[in-house]
Subunit: 312 residues, 2 copies
């Protein structure tokens, strides 16, 4: 199992990436083989500074870096020697089994969609986020921005992929799937939600519990919460801002602390043939470590194989 890591992505790279890699390696009993992609001398120096044996990791030199605000398509095309471009090359050529980065999100999405095949039968891949539930549990919200316009069939697939992820990675048995909507009753909602309801209701691969409303997002009603990427992205960013608000207001409550998404291990792109995990730009060592763990778990539990099976 080989996991490639973009050491240059994120606001605090490569230092925090190196620290994350070391934490992962120290804490994990049977760590995966890691390929560290980035500026060789810089990474080498950081590793030496941490007294890491020379041969513990393989460093793949990348001469270039795609900046956080560069135009994704343009940057990927022009910077073939960037850590992100090299990462996708390793993944596509089979030299790596998974790829993680906290760099330019757009470039990661474009790179994935253009270099990694979609899972058989998947209309469009999706990205999700974890939602901290008030009772201490964790929910999954998807799509959170990859697909601003969706068809009912896509939402139906998000429900299946989200269920598999919730079960195998979040450890939620038989996860409850809710359709985010403006009312509880069947027949409520916009045209998309109405049509999606019918599909979800008949989908035997999921445990559909019906519509959920905005007030249900934070409570233990549905584990997997499905919507198109427009609503999902706005909800995600609104939820993220709660952490910031609670900090500015000096509200010391453990619950709002959990809206600090940099603690989570990034979000995988679901529906593509290999694990790609995208981290927050503000990722610190813990986030890097968690991203590697997510990729490892996805490989170990064959999450993608299971998704393919359930999507049949």
């Amino acid at each position: 199992m080989v996991i490639a890591i973009d050491m240059m992505g994120g606001d605090f790279a490569p230092l925090e990436a190196v620290k994350g890699v070391l934490q992962y390696h120290q804490e994990e009993k049977s760590p995966a083989e890691l390929l560290l992609i980035g500026h060789q001398p810089a990474i080498h120096e950081l590793l030496t500074g941490h007294k890491v044996p020379q041969d513990l990791f393989r460093i793949i030199h990348a001469e270039q870096v795609i900046g956080m605000h560069e135009h994704p398509t343009k940057a990927l095309k022009e910077k073939q020697q960037s850590s992100i471009a090299i990462g996708f090359h390793l993944l596509a050529s089979g030299k790596a089994d998974a790829f993680i980065s906290a760099g330019n999100t757009g470039a990661m999405l474009v790179g994935t969609l253009f270099s990694i095949k979609a899972l058989e039968g998947v209309i469009r891949p999706t990205i999700s986020t974890i939602i901290p539930k008030e009772n201490g549990c964790t929910g999954l919200l998807l799509d959170v921005g990859l697909n601003a316009d969706c068809k009912p069939e896509q939402l139906n697939q998000f429900a299946v992929m989200g269920s598999v992820y919730a079960q195998l990675i979040l450890g939620i048995d038989n996860p409850k799937v809710g359709l985010i909507n403006v009312g509880e009753e069947e027949g409520k909602g916009n045209i998309l939600a109405q049509a999606t309801y019918s599909l979800l209701k008949e989908n035997t691969h999921i445990r559909f519990i019906g519509n959920i409303e905005g007030r249900d997002i934070l409570i233990d009603k549905a584990d997997v919460m499905v919507c198109e990427g427009f609503t999902g992205n706005i909800l995600l960013k609104f939820a993220e801002s709660l952490y910031e608000v609670s900090h500015r207001k000096q509200i010391k409550d453990g619950y709002f602390e959990r809206f600090n998404f940099e603690n989570y291990g990034g979000t995988p792109i679901l529906g593509v043939a290999k694990p790609v995990v995208i981290g927050h730009g503000i990722s610190k060592s813990k986030a890097f470590k968690n991203m590697i763990l997510v990729a490892q778990k996805m490989l170990e539990k064959d999450v993608l194989g299971k998704m393919k099976e359930e999507l049949q």
Copy 2:
């Protein structure tokens, strides 16, 4: 100026409605004439209990009540003697200038759409909500559920109506209008948001500041926040749940207290020819008082006339 009030609407009616009416009457220097619609003996008894002179208010007897969970269209059709049906009759026949109720929201919407004309040129009326901003100010979010599917032209009108309301009722000078979207740059978003952006940009009746994201909802970026009713409704209900969460978590912060929407004076239906204000089912006296104040202010400042003018 005559304002009709449904005394039977809401979970705590008619007691809290009576208390709200009295508070309004005691605090307001030049109160509007109020028509109290509801079960005459019950209201009379409550007024007498509060030692209110017999002739201070006119009570319009309503034999029936539409329950909070009745089917709106069916209930309005079958219960012609209900307080809501009578309210709309008074409004449509010119015997009242405004109508407020904390009763069945669906029945209020259906009643409005069927008995009160839309303002000239308005494609579809809309409903909004107040959003407490972190800095102590107040924003306006619309549509919050009346129009789950929208055309760009509708969102463009929401921006105008919201701006007039923010200026005249919320007291925000030259309000900043933001389009709720998944990214800041022009060209971002779903098909609807992209098309709406072009219209808002060229609309000289508003002060358009561009796209705003989920993280901007609570901060002082835009005063009037525009989206279709699907996203808006989910955002509203999510925001409402923050008050409940903070209470359950015993977070004593004044900011989250402001998400207790029962304190606000209900939400007017914008885009119809006469003020109709809908309150929360859980409205208490303060909310009833505030609803009457909103209706009064809308009449005094000729909010609807100004909307009509700006929509030309």
